[in-house]
């Protein structure tokens, strides 16, 4: 790596509307990049690992700043998050915390206060890092992503969005506009709901070596009605594990069920080794963390009553 720390030259545009942003993308194609919070892109540009000729700043687009909780009284609904919403805003928003407790638990793991003040929900997803907590949460909750370009809007489930490390299904001319997180609720007040997010990193605030999260619904007897879980850093992309969740439905989450789920999760993991963690270590952490989040989510469910 050459010791470079100043970006290559580029042209900058700050469109006023999403439509304008999309036409700039259409015009410049792969030479252009969107910048939202810049917390991932700017370091890469500094080292000249990314060198867009055009930088299109979408951080201030009002159209990407919305947060909408599902209407009261409906059963399951979706919580709509504009892609440009900053992580710190999401972290503090009381409706988001109530509707999306798993995301609320994930956010404190994302970098530091200072990076969350700039970094966006959409930017984290679009960046496509395998250990991004927000991306993992979107996959686990089976969020829907709305992409737009000059020809309109397309939807893609988060679970189909991530293709390889830092590679996603987004096309160069597309902008991620919003993320729709399904909210778990129901009229049945006896249902207990819980979630947990855990990760292992070498230092606090570093990218996770491996992360895991889970969200559960239990009946009053503690039997699992619904379970979703997933792993970050344990495969080339964030990994939702619906098949493992399905395996838990109907069961009491005793140690045996939990360790079977963890074993099933690890079987689906496909981690890479690097300086800080070998593939074996990551696989081991995946098992440990799946067990931990299932225990913790169950504990969480026991301590809260459904809403």
């Amino acid at each position: 790596m050459m010791p470079l720390m100043k970006a290559a030259p580029f042209a900058y545009a700050r469109p006023e509307t999403l439509a304008e942003a999309c036409s700039l993308l259409a015009e410049h194609g792969p030479d252009a990049k969107l910048i939202a919070g810049g917390q991932s892109l700017v370091p890469m540009m500094a080292m000249r690992l990314a060198r867009p000729a055009w930088l299109i700043d979408i951080a201030r687009l009002a159209e990407l700043q919305h947060l909408a909780a599902p209407a009261e009284g409906k059963a399951d609904g979706v919580f709509v998050v504009g892609a440009g919403v900053r992580q710190c805003v999401m972290e503090r928003d009381p409706r988001a915390r109530a509707s999306l407790p798993l995301l609320a638990k994930a956010l404190p793991w994302v970098g530091h206060v200072q990076t969350r003040n700039r970094g966006t929900i959409g930017g984290s997803i679009a960046h496509g890092d395998t250990s991004a907590e927000i991306a993992l949460t979107a996959c686990v909750l089976d969020a829907m992503l709305e992409l737009c370009d000059t020809s309109g809007v397309t939807e893609i489930p988060a679970r189909e969005f991530f293709l390889a490390p830092m590679v996603t299904a987004i096309l160069p001319e597309q902008c991620l506009a919003e993320i729709r997180f399904p909210v778990w609720r129901s009229a049945d007040k006896t249902i207990r709901r819980g979630c947990a997010f855990e990760e292992v990193s070498v230092r606090h605030g570093d990218f996770a070596l491996v992360s895991a999260c889970a969200q559960l619904e239990l009946d009053p007897d503690g039997r699992c009605l619904r379970a979703e879980l997933g792993l970050g850093g344990a495969a080339p992309t964030p990994l939702a594990l619906p098949e493992v969740g399905a395996q838990l439905v109907g069961a009491k989450l005793d140690e045996q069920a939990i360790s079977a789920a963890a074993a099933a999760a690890v079987a689906l993991a496909d981690p890479e080794g690097d300086l800080h963690a070998s593939a074996d270590y990551r696989r081991h952490l995946a098992r440990v963390l799946v067990e931990r989040v299932l225990r913790a989510a169950q504990q969480d469910a026991r301590s809260t009553v459904g809403t």
Binding site: M2, P3, A7, R203, L275
Partner: protein
């Protein structure tokens, strides 16, 4: 020098604010990157992608064609125009120039330098330089590098071994033969460094009219101006280094000779001010600031009662592709080779070996912390072997306070200490019984917990006797420092120091000492840094020496001022000096307080009233004091015995660590350190440096490593992979002070610039191993990362 008692000081040892802090907290420090010279140009570097290669061709035309690009310098021109930089040992064929010429010897080595109007433009141009390389064989493993037939980093030198000698001090073989037990162990200290948050930077300007090179640099380097001048073939007085630049941390590594020769050459050649501020990637890879990377093989001979009789240490140190002072880092530990223990004889075999990696530089403690880690690992191994308590074993072997001065086998005399008392204080500060209870409770609950202990020395005062010890051609025994004090016409006091500071609070040190001796409020005293043409001799703040050497020099100069004031008063009051007393700057006749000359009157006489001056006394009020390190300055004996440094601070660390039994993640749960550096001149500063040293030691023990891939690429080049501990990794730290004054220094002070770092890695390693012991696992290599710890846990569990 007389020993002042630790109590009875006016300013020394008191909680006082420092002089430097107000400018730092308001962002008004002045660092090298803050210096803007009119028309200044910026350097970017082109570096080698190969661990070893021949340079076949360099094409610069595309780079030069970019607008804003001023010049591209390559090794051919620079090598012809400058003198080679030489290593600190006798190896004249191991030469170094700032830019590679013909061959590259590590990935990241500088090959070309671009000068442009902005740093960004210089980087644009650096990308356009085309270099053809022919990759050659390289060696990365120091143990392979010493073997015959391995690729040679410097073929002209004929071997990769830069320095090797076996010292035998005392009847080692007899002691081994007589001992009831022997054991051997191998421990490894990983490649890490001090990694200041400010990288190295330099700005230089050549004045053709004056034939003078002005240099502003982020520097902590003895004989820096002389070395630059020599390399640039300039007379010493044609280089002026501005020491009033605040240095953003150094702890040893800010040496920057190659940077300065490069930039000085360019500034002179181009006739423009030029600067090079390393970016972080350059700093980590090409900045030549990696620290020791050592394999220790130890053997200990001891009896069943715990008496350690003798010790053999072989230390293989990987200095990377070039060497400045780095081989000497194996030399300093000679002066504390037995640590705080009574060990009768020692064999020491330091081996300095070159590999195709980034060069090593001085790191906090100059090689002592790795040696302390090895020695303490040996002590723990003896305790395990005998089933003896680690604390009791240490206490049994400690030099007792009534044994000082204590001569160790390698010829150094320890000045003073009370190791038992300091360890006791550390144990009390940690609440050791509670710590044991916490550890045992954790273990009972199925968790992994361990307690670590270390008891280590900090040699201080920096006489650099490793130079003649490791290089018989180098007869340097002078290692002086100095201070100039002026009292101006208004009566204000200014102290002049002669080197730059990198966070050690020297201005506070000088002001406190001047205030103490002259009995004037230190807050009213200004301290400035002379430039190198105005400066008295200094050897810069290395070797934990400034409290001793600069503090002593300031006291010496202040005493001369005081003597002048007394002489003026004696003359004017027509008394003998013996009949007078000095109080807060006034001089009165003893017992007759009405016969007094006040500070303002005395100063006035000195500056304006020559007719009232005693004959023979210089007018004005200024004094300089230059002195040699106390005890220092001898050449080694034929068998390599030497007084290495004058003063010996001591620290005892007690730490409780918990390891997640599933993930291997360590967490420091409690940390206490007992510390004795004699009389503390500024307790806040001593504590601060000790806290910082502990944090740095936590980094070396658990997090930090310059890791190389098999093809010789530095893998931890950015701050994403080189992991400096944050406030969340460093726990709350407790320090328990103890004071055993040094008999050798002005106020009884000893050094503390390396405090904390010298014992923390040893203590943490000890704690990790204590935690792993119930599994039958152990680790003998730093850093002990989660991956390492987990791997050992797995191996042990698989074995059971």
């Amino acid at each position: 020098m007389s020993i002042a008692p630790p109590q009875g000081f006016r300013y020394i040892g008191k909680k006082r604010r420092t002089k430097e802090d107000p400018r730092f907290v308001t962002g008004r420090g002045r660092y090298v990157a803050d210096i803007a010279l009119p028309g200044m140009k910026h350097v970017a570097l082109v570096t080698s992608p190969h661990a070893a290669a021949r340079i076949k061709a360099i094409r610069t035309d595309k780079a030069l064609a970019l607008s804003g690009v001023q010049y591209v310098l390559t090794g051919a021109e620079l090598c012809a125009g400058t003198e080679a930089l030489l290593p600190g040992v006798d190896a004249p064929k191991v030469t170094r120039y700032p830019l590679a010429h013909g061959v590259v010897r590590y990935a990241g080595e500088w090959v070309a330098a671009v000068v442009a109007d902005t740093r960004a433009l210089a980087e644009d141009a650096a990308e356009k330089i085309e270099i053809d390389y022919e990759a050659t064989e390289y060696v990365l493993d120091p143990e392979k590098a010493v073997e015959p037939g391995s690729p040679l980093v410097h073929p002209a030198h004929g071997s990769n071994v830069l320095y090797r000698r076996k010292f035998v001090w005392g009847p080692v073989e007899e002691d081994f033969a007589r001992a009831e037990h022997k054991l051997g162990l191998r421990v490894r200290w990983g490649r890490s460094a001090t990694v200041p948050i400010e990288t190295f930077g330099i700005a230089a300007q050549w004045d053709p009219g004056q034939q003078l090179l002005d240099v502003w640099a982020s520097i902590q380097m003895p004989k820096y101006p002389d070395q630059i001048a020599r390399a640039l073939r300039l007379p010493g007085n044609a280089v002026r280094v501005h020491f009033d630049v605040d240095v953003g941390g150094s702890y040893g590594v800010k040496r920057g000779i190659k940077h300065t020769v490069l930039v000085g050459y360019l500034a002179k050649k181009l006739g423009m001010p030029v600067r090079l501020i390393e970016d972080r990637l350059e700093n980590m890879r090409g900045g030549d600031m990696h620290g020791p990377d050592r394999i220790f093989d130890l053997q200990l001979a001891f009896d069943s009662d715990g008496t350690i009789r003798s010790l053999k240490i072989r230390a293989l140190d990987d200095v990377g592709a070039y060497a400045g002072r780095s081989p000497l880092q194996l030399g300093k530990p000679v002066g504390a080779i037995v640590g705080p223990y009574q060990i009768h004889s020692v064999e020491y075999e330091p081996i300095s070996v070159m590999t195709n990696k980034t060069a090593q530089e001085a790191v906090r403690g100059f090689g002592q912390s790795p040696t302390n880690y090895a020695l303490e690992s040996g002590i723990d191994a003896v305790a395990r072997h005998l089933g003896m308590d680690r604390i009791a074993l240490r206490q049994k072997n400690f030099i007792r306070k009534d044994q000082f001065p204590y001569l160790i086998p390698s010829g150094t005399s320890y000045d003073s200490g009370d190791y038992h008392a300091v360890l006791d204080k550390a144990l009390a500060a940690a609440d050791y019984p509670a710590l044991v209870a916490a550890r045992d409770a954790a273990r009972k609950a199925g968790r992994l917990a361990g307690i670590g202990i270390s008891s280590c020395l900090e040699p201080s005062g920096g006489n650099s006797s490793f130079e003649p010890l490791f290089n018989p051609k180098n007869e340097t025994t002078t290692w002086m420092d100095s201070c100039l004090v002026r009292v101006d016409l208004s009566g204000a006091i200014t102290g002049v120091m002669n080197t730059s500071s990198s966070g050690q609070g020297h201005e506070t040190l000088v002001a406190t000492v001047l205030g103490e001796v002259l009995e004037r409020d230190p807050d009213t005293i200004r301290v400035v840094h002379a430039d190198s043409l105005n400066a008295l001799p200094s050897n810069s703040p290395v070797g934990s020496r400034m409290a001793i050497m600069l503090g002593g020099a300031a006291a010496g100069a202040a005493r001369k001022i005081k003597a002048a004031l007394l002489a003026i008063a004696a003359h004017n009051l027509r008394k003998d000096v013996a009949e007078l007393e000095y109080h807060e700057g006034s001089v009165s006749v003893k017992g007759e307080p009405r016969q007094t000359l006040g500070w303002a009157q005395l100063v006035e006489i000195a500056h304006r009233k020559f007719h009232q001056m005693p004959p023979g006394l210089e007018p004005g009020l200024q004094a300089k004091f230059v002195w040699e390190v106390p005890t220092g300055g001898g050449l080694p004996t034929a068998d390599g015995r030497i007084q290495m440094y004058p003063c010996f601070s001591f620290e005892a660390h007690v730490v409780l660590v918990e390891i997640d039994p599933e993930t291997g993640q360590p967490k420091l749960a409690r940390y206490a350190c007992g510390h004795d550096c004699g009389v503390m001149i500024s307790p806040d500063i001593v504590h601060g440096m000790t806290f910082g040293g502990i944090a740095h030691g936590i980094g070396a023990a658990l997090y930090e490593k310059f890791a190389y891939s098999d093809n010789g690429q530095l893998e931890s080049q950015s701050f994403m992979d080189y992991l400096i501990p944050s406030a969340l990794e460093v726990p709350a730290l407790t320090i328990a002070d103890h004071c055993t004054p040094s008999p050798h220094t002005t106020f009884g002070q000893k050094g503390s610039g390396e405090a904390g770092y010298l014992g923390a890695p040893a203590a943490i390693a000890c704690a990790i191993n204590d935690a792993l012991a119930p599994l039958g696992a152990s680790i003998a290599e730093l850093p002990m990362t989660p991956l390492q710890i987990w791997t050992r846990m797995q191996l042990a569990r698989a074995g059971n």
